[in-house]
Each structure stands twice: as C-alpha cells, then as structure tokens.
Symmetry: C2
Subunit: 115 residues, 2 copies
DNA sequence: TTGCTAGAGTTCCAAAATGGAACTGAAATC
DNA sequence: GATTTCAGTTCCATTTTGGAACTCTAGCAA
C-alpha cells in the first residue's frame, strides 16, 4: 500500500502519520517549538538536506501546520511560523521527548561533553 | 546527515525518532495497542509490505519495545508483545490519535464504506 | 501420498525517496 | 568587483519501499 493512501484511513493515527510520519518532519516541528522559523535554521538544526527541508516545509504549509510569511521585502525572505493547528501538535512532541529521555539515554564516552 | 546518526543526538525527540520516525513503525505499534501480536495481523492491518513488517519488528524487538515470544512449538510460531517500555509509548499514540481526530477528519464520498 | 491451507518470513526487482554537493538569484557588504 | 547571506532548485548515486513470488514447517483432507 502506498503511503499517501493512508490519508483516508479510518484511523486518526494513520492519517496524522501521512503528515508527520516520515524521517524528518517531526524534527522540523521540534525546531519550530524551540524557536526556529528560517529555512537555514531548519537545515542546520535538523541535519536534513535542503532538498528534504524544502519538500517538508511545503507539505506542512499546505496542511496548515505552518504559515509561510514574508519577513523581508527585498530580497524576498520567508519564514515559517506555527499556526494554531501546528501549536496543538506540541503535546505529541512532549510525549516523544519524555519517552526518549526515559528510555533512550545517550550513551556517552567518558570524555563527551554534556551538550 | 544519515538517519541513524541521530541515535546519539542531544535531543530526546530525535533519538526517539530513530526508532519510530519512519513510515510504518507507529502503525505497527498502534496495532499492538489494539490487540494485534502476529506478523500476519500487522501485515493485514497496516497495509505495509511483509518486507517492511519484518524489518520493523526486528528493530522494535532489538530496541526492547516488543518481545518476540514463541507461542507454538511445532511449527515454530512467534508473536510480538509490548514490553513495559513499549506500553509507555501509549500516551504518544494517544496524542497522535487526538490530533488526527481533531485536525484531519476523513473526507468521505457519499458511498464510501467505513472500513 | 498428493494437494491445500496457514503462519512467518525471505528474495527479487522496479519505483520512489533520500543524501550530498553544486548551482541559482537577489541584494547587502567588503 | 568579490564575497556573503538567505532561500531555494537541480543533479546524481545510494537507500528504502512497494509488490509479488517463493520458502519452510506442519496440520488436515481426499
């Protein structure tokens, strides 16, 4: 079954996953919640390629989760801001954060810094 | 950046995503919460290919989220059960469910069946 | 004893997605 | 004029997916 067919699935979890159930989208949203809004920030903070960032931002805007807003007229510069719909995804990210903190502690070598 | 490199990421959301941040894993976990435990059930309920089901179950078992348990001796038959670590992922699925129910209602044509 | 069914996978190949790097375009700054 | 910044796009090789067929063990039926 193709991934996009899940859009009409009876299960709301499946439908949600058609938007955020890929390898980078949730990391972009995490960045948004941490204050990022620029293309370059997403690229730098997530580690995803510019190609991926571009396609994911498009999808998130189309879905009404982010809003693409002009913030410099010349040259045209856009930023991406969470909509109300996007902000309501916050609790989901928090459950991921909490689960990760509890169950996937970072294995660090003796000399590794905390950051 | 390669996806697997996120395993050691400072961010617990990113680390969580290395396990469940792909196109089908969360759907398999949803099935587990709804009572499924067999390979064939996952294949039928998620719509993912057997190939994918196989690789995802391996990863979930390796991560300690599911337990692979023999339930028929001859021929060998295995089922997959949520561990405590896996059960603690429940709240995350519920946030996805709630967000999807609220923001992604199913557009159904007049004749569309419920299944 | 040949044939069908069931469960749990594996294998193969084509199609789609991803990773990495370079390139574009507009304007500000050196 | 050259370099830098931001926001993308393009190209190509590598990975991952999607789909279907195949394997292996064993029960059951004719």
């Amino acid at each position: 079954m193709k991934w996009t067919e899940l859009e009409e699935n009876w299960c709301p979890v499946a439908r949600t996953l058609t938007l955020v159930g890929d390898r980078w989208t949730l990391l972009i949203l995490r960045d948004c919640f941490l204050g990022s809004s620029k293309f370059e920030e997403f690229a730098a903070n997530t580690g995803a390629t510019r190609h991926i960032i571009s396609s994911r931002l498009k999808r998130l805007v189309e879905a009404g989760i982010l809003e693409r807003k002009l913030y410099v007229e010349r040259p045209k510069r856009y930023e991406y801001l969470l909509t109300e719909k996007g902000r309501e995804f916050g609790p989901a990210l928090m459950t991921f954060r909490d689960w990760g903190k509890k169950h996937l502690p970072v294995r660090r070598s003796a000399s590794a810094a905390k950051g």
